[in-house]
Symmetry: C2
Subunit: 276 residues, 2 copies
């Protein structure tokens, strides 16, 4: 029940119609007696650099969830940011400090690695292929590096994008073996699709599926459908895998911790959520 | 249930802790299947001129309820305003036009006159005394003039305040007999307290109570307690009267109509509200 004492978490993007976060966070707040509410706020890209600092002038706002199209432009508006933000060059979480300054973090990668850990994936020594070096792929690579994998191969149809990410990774994690690669999944313990391929019917698969071994764990960021064509193919080969919404639900405990609301599990969130 | 499709109504003031509107509007929205939510937004006075226009850049905001300390400063931020705003010099309701322009209205007075009409007070020919010529008193006087009373006497410990209001009233309602007066209630059909007297224990009564006739209807704006010392005295004399929260609940249908959400009655609002 919203009152004048309720703490606001803005969920900022454009458009907002497909947002799921309010229906996941708010039932959890209700169930735990946390007097906070996630409020969708539709901000167009042109307005964002002016609107964001204004929103954080609200005395009862604690933080924000940031989504498309603002994840990259947010970085320049922060006073302080995490290594994940620096490597990803994008930000999906903002916390207001006591002094009003804005701290940014990026949980797309953590959502992926928390899910992997949850499924007993072993990070130490793992050889990983991340397909797609955009914001999400960069965040996932940063999180894998943070969690101690042995090597990260980067594949992108734009080589400059992969090269840039490789340089940023090595600046923060010089101990990791970072290299550029094709989309050939052979020889990896983990392959993650961090491209939008699978969103649209008829999209090509993001990897050369014939070369996928049953021993490889497959991660997916696309959440348009639960089992994407990539995951269908991985399942047929007997691979272990993680669906796109797993990343979403794994990310939320990280957000709750960041905002200081405690923590939870994806299982509890899924049980309470008013969305599939 | 808030989703990405939910329309926002900002409730803006500072501080927000004592806000009641979210607990009145939101249960009504729920009961009527209106996908909208009143969200408290705490904005300090210094930040307001920058924050308000930014908030209205949100594509999913339709309007705002404005309260202390922003009712006066809002006027300069509007693109269009009602006669009530012009006379009161203050605004407690903002609607975003299709083109993004801001339309202001002021419902403090309407809350009072709707309540009076509800209690069968006859406006035509009525002689009224409004004690207090601040924002609320000005709004009430404007609403009484709009509703066709014969005369409005204005009493204020600051004569300039009453003089200014008299001039603004006459500019818009030259047919009304507007005069300055003392706080002597004798000879009026209606006496309204629009001062804060009654908020604090030990406050003097706003009128010379010995001169109050049982035939006079007494209105009160103070809502700190249901029966203020003024209303207690009026009740003892057998006067008809209206309490401060009546004004509050009478105002809300006006807001709902202004925002385009339909309308309701104070009775239904009180039945659904999660506050006293």
């Amino acid at each position: 029940m919203i009152s004048g004492k309720t703490t606001l978490i803005a969920h900022i993007g454009y458009p907002t119609e497909a947002f799921r976060a309010p229906m996941i966070y708010n039932p959890w707040f209700d169930a735990h007696g946390v007097d906070a509410v996630v409020v969708p706020m539709a901000v167009k890209a042109d307005d964002y650099p002016v609107v964001l600092p204004s929103l954080f002038k609200l005395a009862n706002i604690r933080g924000a969830l940031i989504t498309m199209p603002h994840k990259v432009t947010t970085v320049a508006l922060l006073d302080e940011c995490s290594t994940a933000v620096e490597i990803a060059g994008s930000c999906n979480a903002i916390l207001k400090r006591e002094d009003g300054g804005l701290v940014g973090d990026m949980f797309d990668g953590v959502g992926c690695t928390r899910g992997l850990r949850h499924r007993n994936f072993v990070f130490t020594g793992a050889r990983c292929l991340v397909v797609g070096s955009g914001g999400v792929g960069s965040a996932i690579a940063a999180s894998l590096a943070h969690d101690g994998v042995a090597s990260i191969a980067l594949s992108d149809t734009e080589p400059r994008s992969a090269e840039g990410l490789a340089a940023r990774l090595l600046r923060h994690y010089p101990e990791v073996d970072v290299r550029l690669a094709a989309n050939d999944p052979a020889g990896y313990d983990l392959v993650v699709n961090a491209t939008p391929l699978g969103m649209k019917a008829g999209d090509p698969l993001p990897i050369d599926i014939a070369r996928l071994s049953p021993a490889t764990f497959v991660g997916e960021v696309v959440m348009k459908q639960e089992i994407t064509p990539l995951l269908q193919a991985a399942r047929e080969r007997g691979c272990r895998y993680q669906v796109g919404t797993d990343m979403l639900f794994e990310m939320i405990p990280a957000y709750l911790e960041f905002f200081g609301f405690g923590t939870t599990t994806p299982e509890e969130l899924r049980a309470l959520a008013r969305v599939a």
